[in-house]
């Protein structure tokens, strides 16, 4: 689709490792070893729980994260779209919402006090919390399709906010 993000495989790596979605000039990596939510979080199974973090798409829009805070404790049952915290970065602010129905078990305390790993290692040490859920989640390829479908609207939303 003219103007939308492109989808290609990084050369030199195994074909199944990851996909890349082009946000303008920026390549957002989408590893295929985990699942995704349309609200731009990854969920990686670690035994019986999922570890949850921001995708490269999220981090690219946030840029340098300054501040992260959670408004609920660990061991809390949550509903999808329930408010659970806030984030602020150099360019953006956002409320944070539960990506699905489930139970948040524990938060990454290190990242809660120093959110730098969100920018330096968003798929690894930058994880946010651990969650139990049985809601359906997206594969990497499905998530990239969501990015493709929503990229124009996202740009419009951002541009709209800047023009208001």
């Amino acid at each position: 689709m003219h103007g939308a993000g492109n989808l290609y495989l990084l050369s030199g790596m195994a074909a199944t490792d990851e996909l890349v979605f082009m946000m303008g000039q920026y390549p957002a990596r989408i590893p295929l070893d985990r699942l995704y939510s349309p609200s731009h979080f990854w969920l990686k199974a670690e035994g019986s729980v999922f570890r949850v973090g921001f995708t490269a798409y999220s981090v690219r829009l946030l840029q340098d994260v300054y501040f992260l805070s959670w408004s609920i404790d660990g061991e809390t049952t949550v509903r999808k779209k329930q408010e659970i915290g806030e984030i602020e970065s150099s360019k953006a602010v956002s409320t944070l919402y539960a990506p699905c129905d489930g139970r948040i078990l524990r938060f990454n305390e290190r990242v809660a006090s120093d959110p730098t790993p969100i920018n330096t290692d968003n798929y690894g040490t930058g994880w946010l919390y651990e969650l139990e859920t049985s809601d359906p989640l997206l594969s990497g390829a499905d998530y990239v399709a969501v990015l493709e479908a929503g990229w124009e609207q996202t740009q419009r939303m951002i541009k709209g906010q800047m023009n208001e």
Binding site: R60, S89, K91, Y97, M157
Partner: protein, 383 residues
């Protein structure tokens, strides 16, 4: 020898906040002795009713007008317009503390450049300047701005009352009648004894020893008491809650009238949307403002600045809100939940999203061609 005069109206904050009252009094006292300014007090604009004397006064002001209130300027402007107090947008150079120069001119350009807006009807050529007193601590800053506006005023008004004694010094009784045409109960004032002290221009006078009156107010000592036969004092003005349409943004899409299930909206003789039954509006409910695609609905008393009529500030600290991306409920979902709450409170049934939900225009004709520009612009913006 009628000069160019502007009218300054101070719309008093509701309640009895002493800091706000002090600012109002300092401004009023200083403006009393400005030669090209006529100053008057009215109650809080949002709470005025159609038959209130303060509103009748406002409608009678012919020329340029500066309205000082405790509301966002956009809210004040469109409350006035709704009540038949119409004019062109006057631009004040006063800025809230954290806003920068460009933002003000952007707001002004914004009002002129929305092509699909239906605009205010029959706005006369005079200018109305609205200033939000919540942004200003220093009365001198406000006074300087009023003087600047007065200098640029272009509308000549001939005030027949003024003409009759402009050559000499007005007697105290004349001054009293001129400044305070309405007594506490809203009827034209007739001073009991005709002798009221004129405000001395030394700044030391307090409001309550001057002939200056609170329209419909009773907080003054030392004034001859005009028998009040109506409601006791202006603290009897009930707080009101109702939407105000910003016609510089409204495109007459009718999403609001479809959505509101309480009969607040209607249409006028020209089929333009208007807020018909203000008092049908459920107190505290802002739901319809969320469904308006142009953000043209203002609830001046709402705690969220964007809903209360603030212009978005464009300063260095501006940050994009990514909540919509990160899984927030949509504005429509929030609006439907608020509406359901009001329905249930009323003993009616909740309807969720099944009634009166606007269908969003998903294709926007020109956007396709501009898509590549969008991406390049975003890259240039450093996103």
């Amino acid at each position: 020898m009628a000069g160019k005069k502007i009218t300054v109206v101070i719309s008093q904050a509701p309640g009895r906040n002493p800091t706000k009252r002090n600012l109002e009094e300092e401004l009023a006292a200083a403006l009393l002795v400005e030669s090209d300014v006529d100053v008057s007090l009215v109650p809080h604009l949002n709470d005025l009713t159609a038959d209130h004397s303060g509103l009748l006064f406002l409608k009678g002001v012919p020329g340029d007008m500066v309205v000082l209130s405790w509301l966002f300027p956009r809210a004040a402007r469109w409350i006035l317009d709704r009540n038949g107090v119409k004019g062109q947008l006057g631009t004040s150079l006063l800025k809230p503390a954290d806003e920068d120069e460009e933002a003000g001119t952007e707001a002004e350009r914004a009002e002129e450049s929305r092509p699909n807006a239906i605009g205010a009807l029959n706005a006369p050529k005079r200018k109305i300047y609205c200033i939000d007193l919540r942004d200003q601590n220093d009365p001198r800053v406000v006074l300087d701005e009023i003087r600047r506006i007065a200098r640029e005023a272009t509308v000549q008004t001939v005030d027949l009352d003024l003409m009759s004694w402009i050559g000499g010094s007005p007697a105290p009784a004349q001054m009293q009648r001129y400044l305070n045409p309405f007594a506490p109960n809203g009827a034209p004032a007739v001073p009991a004894n005709g002798h009221t002290p004129v405000a001395a221009p030394n700044g030391a006078n307090r409001i309550h020893s001057s002939p200056f009156g609170l329209i419909n107010g009773a907080d003054l000592t030392g004034l001859p008491a005009t028998p009040a036969s109506g409601p006791a004092a202006d603290d009897a003005l009930r707080r009101r809650w109702y939407p105000i349409i910003d016609y510089s943004r409204c495109t007459n899409c009718m999403a609001c009238i479809d959505f509101c299930l309480f009969g607040v909206y209607g249409v006028d003789a020209q089929d333009r949307i208007l807020v018909e039954q203000q008092d049908n509006c459920k107190k505290g409910c802002p739901a319809c403002s969320r469904v308006c695609p142009e953000n043209a609905i203002i609830f001046p008393e709402h705690k969220t600045p964007a809903i209360a009529g603030a212009d978005v500030e464009r300063d260095a600290n501006f940050k994009i809100d990514l909540s919509k991306l990160f899984g927030a409920p949509t504005a429509i979902e929030v609006a439907a939940a608020e509406r359901d709450q009001e329905l249930l409170n009323d003993g009616r049934e909740a309807v969720g999203l099944s009634v009166g939900i606007p269908k969003r225009r998903t294709e926007q004709p020109q956007q396709r061609d501009q898509l590549d520009d969008l991406m390049d612009d975003l890259d240039k913006l450093g996103l």
